[in-house]
């Protein structure tokens, strides 16, 4: 059984929590004690129907204010797949949370209200999904029951969205008419919309072809931890532990270690369960080399004829997440794969308006939830690939050295 990570975006009014509640409920992933608790709370608040949104809004403040504060993770499984849903709020700190949820997602689910059509925030969510390179995008046109399941309404919204999406880099887009409240096209196909020829949302997510989304070409192994047992049976053992970030590694492969550039050969790829014939992303393994060379955490093992960029200068799109604005010329801690260093903001090329995609080259800084293109100078070389070809070796975070807060998410261009 494969795992699929889905990020959802939308505001309270779009019925996003209801849709997730419906997916959980109809796949029998909700437990009776959870449902009873929701029913009690709903009744006490005077809700007209059982408010499935309460299933996902777990914090005291969320229930009191009827809002979603933070990314919540939900889990359900069908016989075909295990699903992890990163449920991100649509309003408060929308960008920060959506970027967080989308960073690991295979698919993004965007909701619109059929009565309202595409809103500014729908375009923003689509843009963020494309910026974070979520390979599959699903637009759910919700509340179809409130527009009498009218095909015309659906077609107009789908066309408008496709027109906008054409300007973005979105690999795969599917539009589905649903009613989360009534359950139309969520888990089973609805008899109310015979004109719709596609599958239900759940079926679509079960069948999404994700195998081709991974990078199996460019072999990248950031060294995470050096294993040295110093014990009897393994006195001279030296293994390089890490998680494969791209490509396929096999025993016997010629490799080169960055930054030293020293060549070697893979002697074995090991796990506690025994040696493996090949390792690919996202496997966590330990690599042994035939030569004793000095390798430490933050180094990268790759192939001699296929190496990442090695540079102290990084050109990247960043999403600013700090409560304090970016300090032009300021210094921050940077974490990229297993490498930690310090960096200075050399320049802000432009700030991007996420609604209009307009580039403002006069912008002085970036504030919370803003996106822009930065030039960074790093104290040590980073081994990067463009984010578009590798989401692991192309991503980094910036951390404020005083408060230790994570203040930016970066994607290498």
């Amino acid at each position: 059984m494969e795992m699929l990570r889905v990020a959802t975006a939308g505001s309270v009014d779009d019925g996003k929590s209801t849709l997730i509640g419906r997916l959980l409920y109809d796949t029998k992933s909700i437990f009776t004690d959870q449902l009873e608790a929701v029913e009690r709370t709903s009744a006490a608040r005077g809700d007209e129907y059982t408010n499935l949104a309460l299933l996902t809004d777990g914090l005291r403040a969320e229930r009191e204010q009827g809002i979603t504060i933070d990314v919540a993770y939900r889990y359900f499984a069908t016989p075909k797949r295990k699903f992890i849903i990163a449920d991100t709020p649509g309003h408060i700190q929308y960008t920060r949370n959506m970027v967080t949820g989308a960073s690991t997602a295979n698919a993004a689910l965007i909701l619109v209200d059929a009565r309202k059509g595409i809103l500014e925030q729908s375009r923003r969510h689509a843009f963020l999904a494309s910026l974070l390179r979520v390979p599959h995008l699903v637009l759910c046109v919700n509340k179809m029951d409130l527009v009498d399941y009218d095909q015309g309404v659906f077609d107009a919204i789908a066309e408008e969205f496709r027109h906008f999406a054409a300007k973005l880099e979105i690999g795969d887009l599917t539009v589905i008419p649903v009613s989360a409240l009534a359950g139309d096209n969520v888990v089973t196909r609805s008899a109310n919309m015979p004109w719709y020829e596609g599958t239900s949302l759940l079926h679509h997510l079960e069948e999404l072809h994700i195998a081709s989304d991974r990078n199996l070409i460019d072999a990248r192994f950031p060294v995470q931890y050096v294993v040295r047992p110093f014990s009897g049976a393994h006195l001279d053992y030296r293994g390089y532990a890490g998680q494969v970030a791209g490509g396929v590694f096999k025993p016997g492969d010629d490799v080169v270690v960055l930054p030293s550039g020293l060549p070697s050969t893979i002697a074995a790829i090991e796990t506690m369960d025994g040696p493996v014939d090949e390792a690919f992303a996202p496997m966590s393994v330990t690599i042994r080399l035939t030569d004793e060379i000095d390798i430490s955490r933050g180094d990268m093992i790759c192939r001699p004829n296929n190496q990442p960029a090695v540079s102290q200068d990084v050109d990247a799109m960043v999403c600013w997440m700090g409560d304090e604005p970016m300090r032009p010329g300021g210094k921050y801690a940077i974490k990229h794969t297993t490498r930690s260093a310090r960096t200075m903001v050399k320049g802000l090329r432009y700030r991007l308006d996420v609604n209009t995609l307009h580039r403002d080259e006069q912008a002085p800084t970036l504030t919370l939830n803003e996106i822009g293109r930065l030039n960074l100078r790093v104290t040590a070389p980073l081994f990067t690939d463009p984010y578009r070809t590798n989401r692991t070796t192309g991503s980094f975070i910036l951390v404020d050295e005083g408060t230790n807060a994570t203040v930016a998410a970066g994607m290498v261009l």
Binding site: L59, I69, Q224, Y225, M272, P282, M283, T338
Partner: protein, 304 residues
């Protein structure tokens, strides 16, 4: 020759993610500790930690926050397992905290040492100056936990602030903290109860016997099947009877309930878990029933 498909099963993907987290913490922190209760989640954590550093030993100690109200089978298991793994065991004792007058024990038939665990846990962390503590909590367990990060920042009072969490992107974890603060690390965040049992089955992981169906003396209180023992006695009108049960979670004997079950193998438990309709905490933990936000409130104070 067939073309390899390069796909990982969900258990392999979860394992790889958890192993990554263990190595990341071992590499970046000075003094991590693994919180080990002898419950199935901490047992899976210990197994994953062994995988992460093999063939070396786990490079940090384990700590048991001991309420003094234990199932004897679990303590026996704990000592055996820790010896096998060759790791150091630290016991943070609630009894000791009571004896030293640091905390006052609740009284009455529904008294629980659960809230006192937080004190013993935070004292243990402070005393040994641990800067990272691995916990076996999963996000599917409880709705407050569904919002928690893999790296959960705690201030100098051990407090969790759910409204002010660090964004967690890709697999780039930010473990930076000032002296006196620490990070709780949850390598099993994305595992569900079913994943845990499937993995236990696949890996052939040994568990304390109380997880499997057995005959036990019990009495019913507040809808929970409790075991009468030196720390917990039935009140007037609470009849003691024998039944075939197993435990779905392992905690303090005074507040952990058994469930009716005849599942005596991991395979039978997997089937049972797949068909169950009540969350494990709802079914077996009196402490989580205290209020709608019981877990959130305890977590804010520094609970697991």
């Amino acid at each position: 020759m067939t073309t390899p498909i390069y796909e990982l099963s969900h258990l392999d993907a979860l394992e790889a993610e958890s192993v990554h987290v263990f190595r990341e913490v071992a590499a970046e922190f000075e003094k991590p500790v693994l919180l080990f209760s002898g419950g199935k989640d901490s047992i899976v954590m210990l197994h994953l930690a062994q995988k992460a550093f093999w063939p070396a030993r786990i490079p940090f100690p384990v700590m048991h926050v001991d309420t003094g109200h234990n199932f004897p089978e679990v303590i026996e298991y704990r000592d055996r397992r820790v010896a096998e793994a060759g790791v150091q065991l630290i016991v943070a004792s609630v009894q000791e905290a009571i004896d030293n007058g640091k905390v006052t024990e609740q009284t009455g038939p529904r008294a629980s040492r659960n809230p006192l665990q937080t004190v013993a846990l935070l004292e243990g962390i402070e005393k040994h100056q641990f800067d990272a503590a691995f916990g076996g909590a999963r996000r599917d367990e409880e709705k407050a936990r569904a919002k928690e990060r893999v790296y959960s920042f705690r201030d100098e009072f051990g407090q969790w602030d759910p409204k002010n969490q660090r964004p967690e992107l890709w697999s780039l974890y930010n473990g930076r903290h000032h002296r006196g603060e620490h990070i709780r690390v949850f390598p099993l965040s994305n595992w569900t109860e079913l994943d845990i049992w499937q993995y236990i089955g696949r890996e052939g992981i040994d568990l304390p016997s109380i997880y499997f169906a057995h005959q036990r003396e019990l009495f019913l209180r507040d809808g929970m099947l409790l075991w009468p023992n030196e720390h917990l006695q039935p009140m007037d009108g609470e009849e003691v009877f024998e039944q075939t049960v197993r435990y779905r979670t392992v905690g303090d004997v005074t507040c952990t309930g058994a469930v009716e079950s005849t599942a005596s193998t991991v395979e039978e438990i997997v089937e049972e878990v797949a068909a169950t309709h009540v969350t494990e905490r709802g079914a077996t933990r009196a402490d989580d029933r205290a209020s709608e936000a019981a877990m959130e409130d305890r977590k804010r104070e520094g609970y697991f």
